[in-house]
C-alpha cells in the first residue's frame, strides 16, 4: 500500500511527543509550585539541577519532546489561519524546532554544569 501522507506522520509524532509531555508537564507544574514557595532564586535553581544526572535526563527529554510537539502545532495553525504557502510553513516549523533545541540544550546543559562542578 502507498505510504501514509506527511500529515499522518506529523500527527503520529505530535501525539507521541504529547504523551511524553503529558508526564513532563505534570512533573513541571508540581515542581513550579514547590519551587516558588519562599521565592525563586538563581542559587536555588542551580543547587537543584547542577550536577544532577536525573534532572539532566528529565529536562533533555522534555526539551526534545517540546521541540517536536510545538513546531508541528504552530505549522498547523499557520496552514489553516494564514495565507502562507506550505513550503513557508515547513520552514517556520524547522526553524522553531532548531531554536527550541539549541536554546533548550544550551540552558539544560549550562545549568547542569553551573556552580563549578
Amino acid at each position: 500500500m502507498p505510504s501514509a501522507g506527511i500529515e499522518t506522520k506529523l500527527w503520529v509524532w505530535q501525539r507521541a511527543s504529547a504523551a511524553v509531555l503529558g508526564l513532563c508537564v505534570i512533573v513541571h507544574l508540581i515542581l513550579i509550585i514547590i519551587a516558588v514557595q519562599g521565592g525563586l532564586s538563581a542559587g536555588e535553581i542551580i543547587s537543584r539541577v547542577s550536577g544532577n544526572v536525573a534532572w539532566l535526563m528529565f529536562y533533555s527529554v522534555f526539551v526534545i519532546a517540546v521541540a517536536v510537539h510545538a513546531p508541528i502545532g504552530v505549522r498547523t495553525i499557520l496552514n489553516e489561519m494564514t495565507g502562507l504557502k506550505t513550503s513557508q510553513t515547513y520552514f517556520v516549523m524547522a526553524v522553531l524546532c532548531l531554536v527550541i533545541l539549541s536554546m533548550g540544550f544550551r540552558t539544560v546543559v549550562g545549568l547542569y554544569n553551573a556552580g563549578g562542578v
Binding site: 509531555l21 522553531l96 549550562g110
Partner: protein
C-alpha cells in the same frame, strides 16, 4: 453571509483554548530558555531579573502562563483519550473538569508564589 452561530458550543471553545494556549506557550518557550540562560552566565543577572518580576502584574502574567500550561495539558489528555480510546461519555463534562483543574493549578500557584 457567514453567520457563526454554529461555533458556540463547549468543544469549540475548548478547541480555541487549546489553540491559543499552545501558540502562546510556543512563543513563551524561547523567552523561558533565555531567562534561565542568564543563570549560566551569572547568578546575579538572573536574580536581578527575578527581582524585576516581583510585581503584581508580572505575577499575574506568570499565573496566566501556569493556567495556560495546565489547560493545554488537560485539553491534550482529553483529546488523546478521545482519539486513542474513543471515549464518548461525558465529553463536555471532561471539558469542564479540565478547565477547572487548570484554574485550580493556577490558583495554587498564585497562593504559593512570593
Amino acid at each position: 453571509m457567514k453567520p457563526r452561530g454554529h461555533r458556540n458550543h463547549a468543544h469549540y471553545w475548548a478547541f480555541v483554548l487549546h489553540r491559543v494556549s499552545g501558540l502562546l506557550l510556543a512563543l513563551f518557550i524561547p523567552v523561558h530558555f533565555y531567562v534561565l540562560g542568564m543563570a549560566i552566565e551569572s547568578a546575579t543577572r538572573l536574580d536581578g531579573f527575578l527581582s524585576w518580576t516581583n510585581t503584581p502584574l508580572v505575577k499575574l502574567a506568570e499565573t496566566m502562563l501556569v493556567v495556560l500550561l495546565a489547560a493545554h495539558l488537560t485539553g491534550g489528555l482529553r483529546l488523546m483519550a478521545l482519539e486513542f480510546f474513543g471515549t464518548r461519555e461525558s465529553s463536555k463534562t471532561a471539558v469542564a473538569i479540565g478547565t477547572g483543574i487548570a484554574l485550580v493549578v493556577g490558583l495554587t500557584f498564585l497562593l504559593n508564589v512570593r
